[in-house]
Amino acid sequence: MQTTTMTDAMRPPVPAEPGAGVYSNKLGMWVFLASDVMFFTALIGSYIVLRFGMGSSWARPAAVLNVPLTGLNTFLLICSSVSMVKAYAAIADGKKYFLRKVPGKTLQDGGLKFWLLITIICGAGFVGVQVFEYIKLVGHGFTPSGYREGSLLAEHALADPVKYGAGVAGMYGSTFFTMTGFHGFHVTCGVISMLYLYFTKVLPEKYSPQDYRGIEVIGLYWHFVDLVWIILFTIVYLI
């Protein structure tokens, strides 16, 4: 997304009727998010259809996946979402600083620099945990094409075909890695964009209560990625 501030000369001319009532970067981001909804519809919709087509023979997610670890990861992403919105609130109030003492309070008050950094750390943490999870899963023999022959999971599946969904392993691997992979890709893109903003805009204190479009726009993207994960976590890991 375009994250730079437009100069006054590049500002949109005044429309005769108010357009969406918001500035273009935000409107553009919302349109892009609508488009992304359709992208995830293709992936998640296919998963639902394929799983439906398999009847009740799907594997128990907890048997294959590490649900508590991913629960922790979900927590990380929710935290990053709330810190993002705190960053947004901070700059709307003009708090450009990192931390500042507030008289009469033990906790220091966080500014934009603090909250955005927390968001970046949580986001990067999420990606890190996901990479760790992938490595573990592949190590156990769970791959996009199914359970690797001779692997731990393949043996388990032989012993307990119902629990491990021996017949659906291929489909399970395909949908799991594609959906979570593309979500992870979105998170990675978000983290990179935030890092870019952090060094080019946030640290030089280019945002002000008058103009913090970059923060709001990347925030929208970030919350959307969180939203998708909330859906994905439930339908992939829990159901």
Binding site: V14, P15, L27, V31, F32, S35, F39, S145, G170, S174
Partner: protein, 589 residues
Amino acid sequence: MTAVAHTSTKAHHAPMSFWRKYIFSTDHKIIGIQFLFVSLFFLLVGGLLAMQIRWQLGFPGKPLPGGGILPESMVSGGVILPEYYIQLVTMHGTFMVFFAIMPLLVGVYANFLIPLKIGTHDMAFPRINMWSFWLALLAGLIMLAGFFVPDGAPRAGWTMYAPLSARPDLSGATISQKLWSISIVVLGLSSVMGSVNYITTIINHRAPGMTWFRMPLSVWALFITAILAVLALPVLQGAAIMLLFDQTLGTHFFDPGAGGQPLLWQHLFWFFGHPEVYILILPAMGMASDIIANGSRKPIFGYHSMVFAIIGIAFLGWLVWGHHMFMSGMNPTLGSTFMVSTLLIAVPSAIKVFNWLGTMWRGNLRFHVPMLNAIGFVSMFTIGGLSGIFMAATPVDIPLHDTQFIVAHLHYVLFGGSLFALFAAIPYWYPKMFGRMMSERIGKVHFYLTFVFYNMTFFPMHIIGMGGQMRRIYDPTIYDFLKPQQPLNRFISYSAFALFAVQFLFLFNFLWSLKRGKKAPQNPWEDNGMEWSLPNPAPHGNWDKTPNVYRGPYEFSAPEAGDKDYLPQYVKLPTDRDPVPAPLPAGGH
């Protein structure tokens, strides 16, 4: 922060290097022109492929003239091989749909016309716009590369039905099938970037006075098209990614052996594909509306119903994708639903055709080349629309599905519809792009010859299709029931060659006029659009000061116009008041 005074946009017009100005340009007009050259190139490539298809269908087993330059993997002794033939049909469809017609309509004219027609300086996100072009070009080159890799181009038809497309051992092409998927993902990204831009620009950047119902129909059509693209392309991207993973990572989305569903691909593809059909025709309808109103010197008949017809087509367009799958073994009840929605889509299309006729009724028709082509568009689109009804009625679709009848139908819509509208649009806005006029004389000869040869090429295909000739077959003569049709097939081929040859007139006219064309006056067509308030070609940044809009786009022959028969949107009559600018959206929330 509230309203900011309009500052002059001249401020950032520092002289730019050649590279910034013409190659990595962020100017919407330059990007439009870049799209124009690239997509005309792909149009030519697609045409060349079509000629080889026609040669094989008309003269199966005869050596292709000039076929000697092709490698042995494609032709044997000059004769096209079956594996090359299916590459031809696949790539002809792919290039024409994704890299010729779609960028010609959306890439060129959405970019070029939207800011000019709504009275703004550039797109909302000029740099994203530039990326949109470069990604489209990259996607086109990846697709083209398919011809030059071992095993040749993709071989599963432009619809890439799985599992044929997913398994190299079944299709015979390994690398290029993957290239197809990658190229489509990149193209999808490009289209989404472009469409986000168009939507944002139209919603937020209209000049004061340019209310929703003062927008020209071309802008309305491009707006709705962008909405379709922004919601449809990601579905194709998702499907192409799944296909790519099936081809490379060993996933099983479309592999029935592991519980995958081949029909899932068709659903996803056509859920994108039918809106795509409207992406390919709505802009053509919009631009033809502008040109017909201009050529008739009359306001468009039923402007509001034209707008609602566009919206209606776009809305229904999401509910009809199943009609591409009537024979796929789908639930017949679903088939019935899809049949009804498909038949209903004929209604807004009929409204549009009759309103074009109504526009011409009691007009004062000027037959300049754009108008001729626009009339050609109306008459040919009518045939294309009506022939669709045969296939929408499910029982009649049974013998016609996947035969040459559908080929005829889709060419009547895409060639007779979209391409004729483009033959109208290109000369119409040529002066705005290059400052010169295309030759009227060559243009007229080109139109008449194209019109005749076009009908000679595609009309008989209906009959061939009724006779049962399947699509994409390499040699119809091996079937007893198709043999008697061979003379007609040859006739089609001769006409197609003539049709192709005639297009060089257009190409010559286009290129020759770049340097030698007549200098264009400021408003050569005496049109009402905002773009004609600018000199030709339009300068960088368009207007110095944001213009005001005083009326609707089709005030031809209005009584207030006095002795002239047009009244541009930018002309302020003594009775007009300046529009009140709305407050600028604040920089924060």
